[in-house]
């Protein structure tokens, strides 16, 4: 009687802690994020994080891994200094197995730390061309800027008869990379760079810049900036008499730009991705994203979903083979497998860890991005 009572009492006390046999157990895998969660680029942080959150939801719902996943956010404000501090913490304190990064300057700042610690860093938002091959542990799930400009320039020169291009670019590695690309690629496409206007990252007023741009008499103005600043540039140029074609790269795929009346007619490049059609994974992503965040997904959401799903796929394979999930084993698994089912279709990685992706040319019309080419 006594033993039965003890058994019942013990069972009752233990009940809340009991888990079904299939449940995940052990310390969670830590996925670190190095995104701007405050400051002028905070909109990106929210967008990037939501993609990763949905991927974790799917990984856990599908019981892909034996251990749970914890998302650990470090606010970089898109600044290299803060990013280095955040990366040190993720590597040394949180022992993150996988990190998600964005912004060219941030990515370049944290890459040596991740390289030394053999921690995988996956970029789904930054497009500086020198991010390719930054480290064996630095991978890109987004096409880089040189691929975007090379897709855009033939369209501009052939379809829109653009001969004279002015560039307004932010003074950071991304802006410098695009300046270099335009200098090299415009002549090859029968056009010329008639003016390049560098702006600090903190600049807020663009009336004077617009006056200088008008003076250059361009057929098109290429904007190489990001965050709140890119909307300010568009508005500043349009409000101050620059009526010529505006064009840019994938950073323009933000709601704040799309809903800006002055962005009407803006031409920009982005990864080609069809959320309405395509495979089951893409449809599931689009449906669940809409349901969870009450808005349609963007390319950035998909990129960071893919960046996080990659962790699930690689770690699943390593767990099933009885190995330890760490940077080295995941890099080996990446190079061995190469092809992955991701949102938007099959993603294939090269030796440097760059994913190939088709690029399309889009235009904002009536607050919607419409495909022009690609």
């Amino acid at each position: 009687m006594n033993s039965t009572r003890r058994l019942l009492l013990g069972s009752a006390l233990a009940a809340p802690f009991a888990r079904p046999s299939f449940a995940q157990s052990g310390d969670p895998y830590v996925i670190g994020t190095l995104f701007p969660m405050s400051g002028t680029n905070a909109e990106y942080g929210t967008v990037f994080t939501s993609g990763a959150q949905l991927a974790i939801q799917h990984i856990e719902a599908d019981r892909m891994l034996r251990r749970p996943i914890r998302l650990q956010a470090e606010d970089t404000q898109a600044l290299p200094q803060q990013a280095v501090v955040g990366m040190q913490k993720l590597v040394n304190v949180d022992h993150a197995a996988w990190t998600l990064v964005g912004f060219t300057a941030v990515s370049k700042a944290v890459a040596p730390i991740g390289d030394r610690a053999k921690t995988v860093m996956v970029n789904g938002g930054a497009v500086g061309p020198d991010l390719s091959g930054l480290s064996p542990y630095f991978w890109n799930v987004i096409p880089l800027a040189h691929l975007e400009t090379r897709a855009l320039l033939p369209f501009l020169t052939r379809e829109r008869r653009v001969k004279r291009v002015a560039l307004v670019y932010v003074d950071d590695p991304l802006g410098d990379a695009i300046l270099s690309e335009l200098r090299n690629e415009l002549p090859r496409n029968g056009a010329e760079l008639v003016g390049s206007f560098s702006i600090p990252r903190t600049a807020q007023q663009f009336g004077p810049v617009a006056a200088r741009v008008r003076q250059a008499r361009p057929d098109a103005v290429y904007i190489a900036s990001f965050g709140a600043q890119q909307s300010q540039i568009i508005k500043g140029l349009r409000d101050n008499g620059v009526s010529t074609l505006l064009c840019s790269y994938s950073a323009m795929g933000l709601d704040s730009v799309r809903s800006l009346p002055e962005a009407e007619g803006l031409v920009f490049t982005a990864q080609k991705m069809d959320f309405s059609g395509g495979d089951e994974l893409t449809k599931r992503f689009a449906t669940d994203f809409q349901a969870r965040f009450n808005r349609a997904p963007t390319i950035y959401n998909a990129n960071y979903y893919n960046a996080t799903r990659m962790f699930g796929l690689l770690a699943q394979g390593i767990e099933q083979a009885g190995g330890t999930v760490n940077g080295e084993t995941m890099r080996a698994a990446l190079l061995q497998r190469r092809r992955f089912d991701l949102v938007g279709g099959t993603g294939e990685f090269d030796d440097k860890g760059d994913m190939m992706a088709a690029i399309e040319v889009l235009e904002y019309r009536g607050g919607r991005a419409q495909r022009l080419a690609g």
Partner: protein
């Protein structure tokens, strides 16, 4: 014509800088409180106006709401943050950290409510038209100039004619003597915060119309305000206003000679020049050592 275009653009920005800087200088001059959260006042006023605009309110109501929010925030800072710190003999650093902390809280609360990133008012008043060959001006240019002049005139009349205004100037010069005459320095401090904060509202509204704002814009506003206060002469209202105008013009006109990269740098070159050659600023009194 580019020179004239840049000069006029600089005057427009400078008028807005002048308003914000004068508000900061008024508060600092009268109360000696280094009100770092003045940038948050600016941000709050801008977002209140955008919210009212998006809600379909009449613009005049939106302006009033923005001004009311700025004044309420300024008074709340004085009563709930600075005064309790002052009671406990809090030094400059305590005040600075407290105000800076409040700025960060405001920034994050705005981001949570209004969303992160760019926000603006889509008004035809901000769209420039070609008034002469290669010279573009928007109606908001005239509105900025008129708003700045009107606010300064009203403030000058208040400070020189109204008993409360005269008392406020007395507070700036000698708070102990003021108390000896039986006047309440606490009430006058509240008045200084209310007046200084309301000056930021028109600047915030016009910035929301022209370049747009974001939740972190307060940092930039504070940098300009501090620079203008030093250039104008610490404690001098007209100095801060003129310096704000000068900084706005400098960062625009510098593009005649230098690359666009130097626009913001021009403000700080002016600041360094004053620190080196006239540390007391335009209208500040030299201190004998």
């Amino acid at each position: 014509m580019i020179e004239l275009q840049l000069l006029l653009g600089g005057l427009q920005n400078g008028a807005l800088y002048a308003l914000t800087a004068a508000g900061f200088a008024l508060i600092f001059g009268a109360t000696k409180v280094f009100h770092v959260a003045h940038g948050a006042t600016f941000t709050l006023a801008g977002y209140v106006f955008i919210g009212a605009w998006n809600a379909g309110w009449h613009p005049a109501l939106g302006v009033l709401a923005a001004m009311a929010a700025a004044v309420a925030f300024g008074i709340a800072m004085e009563r709930l943050v600075y005064r309790p710190i002052g009671r406990h003999e809090g030094g400059f650093f305590t005040v600075f950290v407290a105000a800076f902390g409040v700025s960060i809280v405001v920034q994050n609360v705005i981001a949570m409510i209004a969303g992160r990133g760019f926000a603006n008012v889509d008004s035809p008043l901000a769209t420039a038209t070609e008034v002469m060959p290669d010279l573009f001006l928007a109606p908001v240019f005239w509105i900025s100039i008129v708003a700045a002049v009107a606010m300064f005139l009203a403030l000058t009349i208040f400070l020189s004619r109204h008993p409360a205004g005269v008392a406020l100037r007395a507070l700036a010069q000698n708070a102990d003597l003021l108390r000896a005459y039986g006047l309440s320095s606490g009430k006058l401090s509240v008045l200084a915060f209310a007046l200084g904060s309301v000056l930021a509202a028109p600047a915030a509204i016009l910035t929301a119309m022209t370049s747009g704002i974001n939740e972190a814009i307060g940092n930039h506003v504070m940098l300009i305000s501090m620079a203008a206060t030093i250039v104008g002469g610490v404690g001098s209202l007209r100095g801060a206003a003129l310096a704000g105008l000068l900084l706005g013009v400098a960062e625009s006109v510098v593009l005649v000679f230098l690359d666009t990269q130097w626009a913001e740098g021009a403000s700080f070159m002016v600041l360094f020049a004053f620190i080196l050659f006239r540390p007391s600023g335009m209208f500040g009194a030299a201190v004998a050592r």
